[in-house]
Amino acid sequence: MPRKPSPRGGQSRNARSGARTPRRAVSNGSEPRRSGNGPPTSRPGQAAPAPTVALDPVEQLYARGLTDGLPVVPPTRERVQRALEELNRPADELIAEVPPNYGRATVEKIAINAVMAGCRPEYLPVVIAAVEAVCDEAFDLHGVSATTNSPAPLVIVNGPVRHALEINCGAGVFGPGWRANATIGRALRFVCVNLGGAVPGVVSMSTLAHPGRYTYCIGEREEASPWESLAVEHGFAPTDSTVALLAADAPLTVYDQRSRTAPDLCATIAASMAVIEHHKMTHWGDTLLVLSPEHAAIIAGDGWGKADVRRFLFERLQRPVRDLVPGRNGGDGLPEHVLRKFADPEHDVTLIPKFRKPEHIGIVVAGGSAGRFSAVVAGWSFSGGSNLVMRRIR
């Protein structure tokens, strides 16, 4: 499985990155900051810098409103050129128009955003595939970027590219420490904001959002999985490298140290899955179950495949109408057009499923070798909403 690179791993290729940094004293932060007179591109929370730091490249990019709050790598012509040379595709090739503003994501524009995010040139094909996927109509990036709900595009990587780029699939898979995971997810975010217009608080009106909006990229730990990978399940060859994009909520950790059988463990998982979005939400769509290697081994040890897990969860996650009426354990519940189908919903025992189909429960194996923790990652996938979209990495 891909391992964490050495502490200096991934750094050497950008050794020239300091060449353009002006040798100026950096402010100690004690000067009063200007406020309220930033340039027109300023975004909320990105006020113009004090004059003494105005020539610092990092501060200039803050002042132009082009960061996510963390510093970005200045997209100099040289850096972008280096990324494009490695890619060997025409710079003006149009990959997609990015909703909701439909800015043109050419190869060059994607490269500029990838450089800013800190990507190495060889990450670019992954970023391009991710941009293609989120701009597929089925993903509904318009809705994902504009909703008051919290989704962030989660990139799930399969295939040999995980090894080639040292994409983390193991310990701390959702966490920091790996350049590829950190910068590929961040590059996609920059494309959504800079080309799609998803500026927080302006177009992107998410009430809470979640930290995955900084970056959200994992690899599947195929080598520790008892089953075929997400990509192979979707018809790709094991030798293909792919991305799968899910408009995803934050991961919900599922703790279970003591289950030793598939039904026991899946009962635990079902109870956590039952509350995603709202405990009375029904007819939900694509959602991801991330099983740790230890949990996957317990389930596979009973001879269960992914389809058995899905079937178990689907069947268990059904509730009678009477438990889903608005006003019972919360004001939300079944919508009126569904309630109208039942003469006496308060007492009706007809079972309504949490998910529209078992196939909406995607399963991958990821995470460290030790630890009986899995995660449920809810999609933003009500009927008519976003769907999981996959693309082969070219």
């Binding site: 990019l61 100099t76 008519g384």
Partner: protein, 92 residues
């Protein structure tokens, strides 16, 4: 300032909103429900007030299939062809 390449699409320009009419007298007003819960409650009340307080000629009610996506092209064209004013409701 150092020259950096532009990560945004400078070709994409913000669209301007259509000119607002000074009066609703004789106008065709479309009320567009985006399919959020209780959007119809809000628009029912808006319709009531428009009828009571203005001289609108016609009020047309339309509904998007889902709030999660833009209105389909044919629906947008239909509204564009038939209306002077559109009021869109976001509820919950």
């Amino acid at each position: 300032m150092t020259e950096y390449l532009d990560p945004t699409d400078s070709v994409a320009v913000p669209r301007k909103t259509a000119p607002r009419p000074s009066s609703l007298d004789g106008k065709v007003v479309t009320l567009l429900d985006i399919s959020k819960a209780k959007g119809d409650h809000l628009l029912d009340r808006v319709e009531e007030l428009l009828r009571a307080r203005t001289g609108v000629a016609t009020i047309v009610r339309k509904k998007k299939p889902t709030f999660a996506r833009p209105a389909p092209g044919p629906l947008r064209q239909e509204i564009l062809d038939a209306s002077d004013v559109v009021i869109e409701a976001l509820a919950d």
